[in-house]
């Protein structure tokens, strides 16, 4: 930082002044921001341990502590099954989307073909059609599919996964394409001159170089899949086939109770995998999101 180039004067008073000019305000700002970021989280945690378990009885600070809500959740719902289902969808969808999207991004980044521009803009625009209206169409489609192949019809994981994969090419492809662009063309061109096929260039040269953006897109898809419940509510009806997001949604939607304590426990549990994935991918994230920040 430029401040570092200024001279150092070694009186304590000015050292403090320097410190506060350089770091002090930053700490103040960050504490404010962290408070803003944290208080709803604190609220949900306190609701999770609050023995009463309704939303409005929850306070910012826990008024009591107990694991009744957690116990209720495990006792009254097939929580572990839901959890496993959620992880299945999140991981499978993230993996497949990353792969499909990377393939497409490679083509968009490295090849010139007719319809390329239309294709990319189209990818953005198709996302803007309200998905929920398509539910009727999805119903009709999968009812027909289910008649012939019940394995991928309604109430199956594979069916829902297929629908999720319909969104594999999306803004994420743009993100990846931007990152692919930052990899110097000379690298793959020289490899091709050495006799590598385009597939070899893609798998052996490109993919290892773009790991950060793969990690990012994987994370993004992971998060959005784990929070998805609209399509899941159409597809999954067997109690054991449900995802955690869907199960939780039905828990609050159900008219009988304000199960907010249980819901909060579930919400926290639902956030855990994201946090863990986040933690492990952390070192890629700052790199991956830049998407070719500096090109001159």
């Amino acid at each position: 930082m430029t401040a570092a180039t200024r001279g150092y004067r070694r009186s304590t008073g000015s050292a403090i002044a320097l410190w506060s000019a350089r770091f002090g305000w930053r700490h103040v700002v960050m504490i404010v921001v962290a408070a803003f970021a944290l208080f709803p989280v604190l609220f949900v945690v306190s609701a999770a341990v609050n023995p009463v378990g309704t939303l409005s009885s929850a306070r910012l600070w826990p008024t009591g502590a107990g694991f009744d809500n957690a116990a209720d959740l495990f006792r009254n719902t097939p929580f572990t099954t839901w959890y496993a289902n959620s992880l299945f969808f999140a991981v499978a969808n993230a993996a497949a989307t990353v792969f499909l999207s990377a393939l497409a991004a490679y083509a968009f980044s490295r090849m010139r073909f007719r319809g390329r521009r239309v294709g990319m803009v189209g990818l953005l625009i198709i996302q803007m059609f309200p998905q929920f209206l398509a539910i009727v169409a999805i119903y009709l489609m999968f009812s027909t599919v289910g008649e012939y192949r019940p394995e991928v019809g309604f109430d199956t994981r594979w069916g829902l996964l297929l629908v999720y994969l319909g969104g594999a090419l999306s803004i994420n492809t743009w993100l990846m394409k931007g990152f692919f662009d930052t990899v110097p063309r000379e690298l793959d061109e020289s490899a091709q001159i050495d006799g590598a096929t385009h597939a070899q260039v893609f798998f052996r040269i490109m993919l290892p170089l773009v790991t950060p953006v793969l990690a990012i897109v994987g994370l993004l898809v992971f998060i959005s899949t784990i929070n998805e419940f609209l399509m899941a509510s159409v597809f999954l009806r067997d109690t054991d086939a449900k995802t955690l997001g869907l199960g939780l949604y039905q828990l609050v939607e159900s008219q009988r109770n304000a199960n907010f304590g249980m819901f909060s426990v579930g919400a926290i549990m639902l956030s855990l995998p994201t946090l863990i994935v986040f933690w492990f991918l952390q070192r890629y994230i700052t790199e991956g999101l830049t998407a070719g920040a500096v090109k001159g």
């Binding site: 609220f43 910012l60 070719g292």
Partner: protein
Amino acid sequence: MSSRNSAGAPGPGAPARTSPPGGGLAGSGSLWGQVAKIALLGLFTALGVWAALPLYVGGNWAGIAVVAAVLVLVYWVYLSKRTVPLKYLLPGVLFLIAFQILPVLYTMSTSVTNFSDGHRGDKEQAIAAIEAYSVTRAEQGREFGLTVATTGDPETGELVFLLTDSDGTAYAGDIEGLRPLDDATVDPASGRVTEAFGYTVLTPAQVNARSQELEEFAVPVGDGAGIRANSLSTAYEGRATRVYDAGCDCVTDTSTGVVYTADDERGAFYSEDGERLAQGWRVNVGFDNFARFLFNPTFASSFFTILVWNIGFAVAVTGLVFVVGLAIALTLHVPRLRGKKAYRILVVLPYAMSSLAMYLLWRDMFNTDFGLFNQLLGTNVDWLGDAWTARFAVILANVWLGYPYMFLVATGALQAIPRELTQAARIDGAGAWQAFRHVTLPMLMVAMTPILIATFAFNFNNFNAVWLITKGGPFPPDDPSAGATDLLITYTYRMAFSQATAEYGYAAALSVMIFVIVSVMSVISLSRGKALQEVDR
């Protein structure tokens, strides 16, 4: 590998070489690649066969044609040398077409129909329902104990009702009519026939297998009445009061004598004085749905208000998350700041939380009497009850959820900017702000524009953001259909699903409108911004 390395990449002036299509070198692919290719294609073929088998059994030739066409396409793409880009695009595009584009096209096609509650099925279904629903118990209609039997094979033989009336007299009834049954064994406890010479009694499962047949089966007893089953063990005498006549394309109510004539423009049966039968069918109504909102002044004004707020909302959220995220990134963008890692985790936390739960939580925090905000601030603001505070609440909640992503993006982008550049600017005498404004920011924008566009597009249609917090409210007392925080998408959702009569056709027409508006806006902003130039690079 990081983008930092790419700082040394050729600048924009470097000619974008048209790379020779890699397909030219496909021949020298490794053995491994060939094997993988064959295996994958084989697997795909197997998948095709797997999909086609039941279609073949079911005689669905159109389905088989689709499967075959996809197979041929895949073979062509992966065996030809001239389709290199397609080799990479096809897998994703196939999914995209099947599960996004086709459903969207279907939905668009319903926008010119009257598809809505009461108009879901086709005409035959409506007629069937009208007739079935009009069957009522005849005046002083008899009840019978019922045993379903057949004279032939349990699966296909002609159905016969073995009946016992309240006196215990046994009858056999079939499609011909009712006749006494002499040699039947009647179980005294249930009063039902258990055995009769010449008839095979069906088990419950066997009867159930013939449910559809049973629904239409009636033993005629004259005067239009018939004996029908109302459970596996009982039957009653009833009559259909409404009958369809294909000749006049009308339904006659035999009890009142009213004639309802089919109106194929509106998709329902209407009587002479305008009464309609509840069960209608779906018909094409051309551009009526569009006309309905384009030429309706109330609608036009609420549509316009919603559109303005919708754009305002998306701009505000996108702008604020950008500013907040960038500000935090800049604050943390200094070497040797103590606790940087901890701050980073704390600040990013909202992003990891389940958004569904968090929206509900924010809604509750804005409650007037019990919400956290009024408690902490000591105020008594009716946050969600007033248009502007509700808008503020919705924006605030979304900034909370959205800024961590921007923070991450901005942090990455900042780190990729070589420090020498800013330093150079400062040495040239620029102030900190000027250095940021003229050096850092422009470089940041290059990286962040696509992400900003994506954020804008996402928030423009951010259904949960509004639905879970305000459901579009508060509503002006005189217009409960368009609320102050309604986005076009929540407004459409209310049209299609949330009100008593689901109006898909109308909602689809609205969606098409929204779609057109958003697309035009995006294309314009894309072509004016840098993002699309990037595409052309």
